[in-house]
Symmetry: D2
Subunit: 432 residues, 4 copies
């Protein structure tokens, strides 16, 4: 039988705390899950440093990737079949793109990307198109199948309906992670009626739309998303750990540039330091590797690297205060000066971090972030943009919220064994 149509003799299931079971019938999907590139996602946490705030948030991207697949599977197997606008030939492509959409993520992606100028989306494409086990499986389907999967994930595929299943303001990716992250952190936000959303989803040529009767479930989803961003994803303790992690990477890179001799050689980091990472190098990285180095580096000579690694490993994080960069520019300069005088390098120990979110937006052509709006399917078959029907969504639509905080090591500043006068001044400014 044709590989693309080949089914397992017996359905395989994964026990999943969020969707109860993840069901696999397609041999292609089963084979993809077994590849080493996909298994590697087990060693990368879904929420990076959040486990230091929410101790339950230790779940991996493997976990989430199966979940996104399962949601798309339900859509393409239970909701779309037989409806106009849906081309059933796109089924397997949709499933593969859902499963693999996060494949290029590395350990603590956000920090690594920033410091080493990486782009996980590029790696996703490279894994799918390169010399990998994943590529081999996809290529068995057809010669151009890997490219199609890659295009869906890169949002350049010409059937935008397929893209919208995994990349839009309401898609399987977000639906899974909101619920999953809520489950593992244990917060009571993140709940919405996914069953209902699936029931009211309809395929349209351009994108997925939602029957008007499900508008309240869509509203609820948007509110959940909003709460999860501010309660979980932007939690200041998580940001504090992220700040330290970023500074560790900066410091290691800086030391390397200055020909510092590491006690424990950073073999896995050389190509990163030189901005010359190959796919092979990249695939060797995972959180176990990174944590291994951080632990070893607790014994380095360099005081900053050593201290920051110690902080990360043992969760001695930075404290924070609210900070308004627009109004408090001078305060920041003054603190920088005082930190230097106190012998605390402000480049590593005085950090402004900002979080910003736009809960929903309709389409604003020409703006930086063009976001496809959510459409409601009215009884007369007309489409209407969500915020025109929903008072609540209208109220928050397009309203960006940004928070800034200033992070610093409170223990250093409270340690009066050196420079007590300067530190007193710092404390007065920080009001701690």
């Amino acid at each position: 039988m044709e590989y693309s149509k080949s089914k397992l003799s017996e359905e395989k299931v994964f026990k999943d705390p969020v969707h109860r079971y993840v069901h696999v019938r397609d041999r292609v999907i089963w084979d993809l899950i077994g590849t080493k590139e996909f298994q590697r996602l087990r060693r990368i946490r879904q929420l990076g440093t959040s486990f230091l705030t929410f101790h339950g948030a230790e779940h991996s991207r493997f976990n989430h990737s199966l979940g996104v697949y399962e949601i798309v599977r339900r859509i393409v197997d239970d909701v779309f079949p037989g409806r106009p606008g849906w081309d059933k030939e796109e089924r397997l492509l949709s499933l593969c793109a859902a499963l693999l959409h996060d494949l290029g993520h590395g350990p603590f992606s956000h920090s690594f990307e920033k410091v080493f100028h990486l782009d996980h989306e590029n790696f996703t494409r490279e894994i799918i198109l390169g010399d990998t086990e994943v590529h081999a499986v996809l290529a068995r389907v057809s010669a151009d199948f890997p490219k199609k999967v890659s295009e869906v994930i890169a949002k350049t595929y010409d059937n935008t309906l397929v893209i919208s299943l995994i990349s839009s303001q309401i898609d399987a990716d977000r639906m899974d992670y909101l619920q999953r992250d809520a489950y593992f952190t244990g917060v009571s936000y993140g709940h919405f009626d996914m069953e209902r959303l699936l029931r009211v989803m309809r395929p349209r040529e351009e994108q997925v739309v939602f029957k008007y009767s499900g508008m309240h479930a869509v509203e609820d989803y948007i509110m959940s998303r909003y709460q999860m961003y501010w309660q979980v994803y932007f939690h200041p303790v998580t940001r504090s750990a992220e700040v330290i992690l970023t500074k560790i990477l900066h410091r290691a890179k800086e030391l390397h540039r200055n020909h510092y001799s590491f006690k424990h050689e950073p073999l896995h980091f050389y190509s990163l330091f030189q901005d010359q990472v190959t796919l092979e190098d990249y695939l060797k990285l995972d959180e176990a590797i990174i944590l291994y180095y951080f632990q070893m580096w607790q014994e380095e000579e360099d005081a900053i690297l050593k201290d920051l690694c110690h902080r990360f490993v043992n969760r001695h994080l930075f404290k924070y205060v609210e900070f308004d960069p627009a109004k408090e520019y001078r305060k920041h300069s003054e603190l920088e000066k005082l930190f230097k005088e106190a012998g605390i390098d402000p480049d590593y120990y005085l950090v402004v971090d900002s979080s910003s979110d736009l809960p929903y937006d309709f389409y604003r052509p020409g703006e930086e972030e063009e976001r496809l709006p959510i459409y409601l399917l009215m009884k007369n078959d007309e489409l209407r943009e969500l915020s025109r029907e929903s008072d609540i969504v209208d109220a928050i639509s397009g309203k960006r919220r940004t928070d800034h905080k200033l992070y610093f090591p409170a223990d250093f500043i409270q340690d009066d064994s050196s420079e007590p006068a300067i530190k007193r001044q710092i404390r007065r400014i920080l009001e701690i």
Copy 2:
């Protein structure tokens, strides 16, 4: 104020998916949580290799330790106060013992203990009594406090009621892990009415007992425990991963004994190989470290070490068949012979693994495992052993169940590129 009575100015809470919140008011507890020895538990999974079967089971021992503490906190703060038999001076000791009871666990404890002759209970004691941050905190309470905590965990403390809170057939340890492991794996077993159990718990001089009116909740707990053992803890896929992990450790040790030259030097393993592990060595171990080596060893020369590490990292596990060691002894010998002839070392690739559990037992003096029975407190204040009142518990009491399985690499045996005739014979015997 006395350190042992010192309270935080504001209660701290941890969001916990199982107990909703873990509450900390005591400074001693807060300080213990912040020690590096306790934070290290974040890097050790509660269920070892189970995450390869249940992808949600990525939660750490840190997670569980807080949970046990929270259950004991509810008992000593909400249930016991004011009841005869309870000495409120034991409160802090109970809380510390609960929090620290698993402190000595290392990465994949079960396998490491077997191969390297370690004992995590010894390490727990050493951490509590040795030169550690945990010891420093406990010693601030009083000079003999570390010893008392250690005795409670070692079950030698003279107030056996305190011991029974964390080590008996129904204790805070089991109550937490059954619920927690059920939550993170997503299985529907593991549920019982802990609220009710807490409500009917009563202190007695010897141990915790349960009011007769809560008997059904106790029964339910025992059934949950039984199901979790067979459905989760002894799951054959988990056992398969455990078998491979144990064999990796064996192989590395064997290679070291034979002066094999590792490409990637096993620095963290030397003292293990020589059965000379110090506390300092031990505390450096965690799952990140171990996984780091396993990944590096995928590139070793030694074919067996390389293959086994590859299997573990990429989840290419062994298959299994039921096996009765009593009746099928000859079959096993024959398979060993055939494996050797086929060039597959049976010491590493043909493994019998047994799981065995006794769901509940009353007291059988003189027997190998003397287990304290569960007592019901009758209306007339008499105590009666559970199985005398509960038909269901009586039915299963003392009935040990044991399962044996034979694990092997199905891919090797199905690969007919070498020794096809022998492999055919192996397959016939294994009925695969």
Copy 3:
């Protein structure tokens, strides 16, 4: 289009707390739900007097009937199609039988059946075969369809597989009520993994069987059932209310026999009193009607009827003590005598009530209650009776448990304004 195949233009859903949604596509099912005989089930509580113990247990038989339908729908639409042994022509019949299986239940069935010699199964048959809206719908399918539905419910239909879906030791009826009653009472028993049970169900010529791999889910179901019986269904407070209700009916019947002149005429009861209930009379009964009379009868002259109704309406229930009818026969006679002397009629105020349950049984030919065993489908396609494979089920199989209690009005006996000496004696015997 043929009525039996007719589908609604759009699927209808009922929001259901247990199954999330109940889905209806078949016009026949939709029409049946709309009949007045089915709507009448809204006015009959699923758990009779249990709401006086568990205040959440106010759910109706309408609720449960939809649930049983939904479970069977999932079996015949998602699990059975395409499997040998399943005749898809039986689909609609299975759905209708599931929906209608409790149709003949009246208000507080158990008590009414006992006192007035009714049989709800007869009424179910009469409603299905008689001149009713339900019959009219079923007859539109085909002339013999009502008879077939009736036979499935009466367990005389020749396809025993269809019968086993709703009447066996593990069927859709039990699966729904255990979960539903647990949900509405709020108890933590009653949970089992129905998703898994549905996944491992297989049709066989004789009956539904379960794949061996699902054995633990079956065990869990049996334990849930056991706990629900003793924790909820046989709860002594519920039994106390049931005892009073039964005595009210007895008293009213007795008064009528004795030509007592009711202040409030029992129009709805006349045919009951005379054991001449027609279907028309029966269908007029529901719990609102009965409660109406009980409220009115609080103002009757007859002291016993008045008192019992007052007790039921205002939840002034009887107290109880354990009672062993075999050993304590004399005690009972003595109490009867003393009650009479104290002017408290023992026929109404001293009641022995017994509860008895057999958690599971294999087939014992010739015995009173022949129960079809649960079969496991082994890998070699052989069937094995559950208790031969499951240690736990074997341990409890065939073990009947019976509890007896003696119910009485404690307030009467504690009221020493009359016959204090006799009452003191009664209290001594009852140990209250």
Copy 4:
């Protein structure tokens, strides 16, 4: 011991699906629950006609009243003690007011109040102050205690903090019903983190306030409330049943005014018809009584009463279309005319029903509905009105949403056996 301080020898618990357990230690509370006026709440559904839309919504006001009590109990026992602003002498008063706040509700209150000019708040006061079992219990506490309880419920008590526990924009009443109604209907709205809300509640002289750190939990509560209003409380099917119920009452009153001779005498209604209801009359009413009459009236001569009762009992409800009373006034007049011509009385069969909600409001002095705002307690101990801090709440604050629908019997209008031309015209206007 003083009655107000008297405790039960053993705590009593009610199993509750929402709060797990409701705990009672105070004898006063236990005695109140046992009164016949409180037990009567078992016979009045919390959500009136909603059970005809959501079949799980069969829970009673008894259910909810215990829940409100339990939330207040947690506040006054676990959260407030020891905090400035809280007078512990108000504890019992708060508990009693919480338990009894809905005591005066009758069957289907909304419709009854409208048609018969009743006010359930008056009845609550009358029950508490009149010659009732409830009054007797309260008066045992102290002579002025009934009056104080009554004042708290009537919002005239001078300690407004106590009032705010059960009557404010975020109080125990709303917190219970949102969760409870969500649980029993099974909808996925209505969830918010009550545990967190309770943790951040603080007593202030004027009212309960919430620590700033809990702002997101408050936001979530407000969104839940919004969704529950539109998804559950204002559900058009529920409104349809309510419309029919109101029209039944109108019709019966009208018939009585016109000296119609009822086949089944409406004994319980006479005082209602004459707007002369005494407390005694009122307490005899409950839903069983009302449903009894509706069933009997299905056999009345009057075609309208008979038809409407038949519709209500058998759930043959009115259909509806959107309707804008401002713009579609002429359409309505035309329909009225056509209905009359078709022989369908528009007074009973063409009904405009409006639902309107204000999700949150800050204080607008002088406006019709002065609502106390929700205050956040900032770190500097200042109070700030919620909408000034919360973007989301600000966005919806003060925005009233109103929906209007037109209800009518679609079956009548589709029945072309009489006046087919007129009915065709009606259908064209209604677009059905």
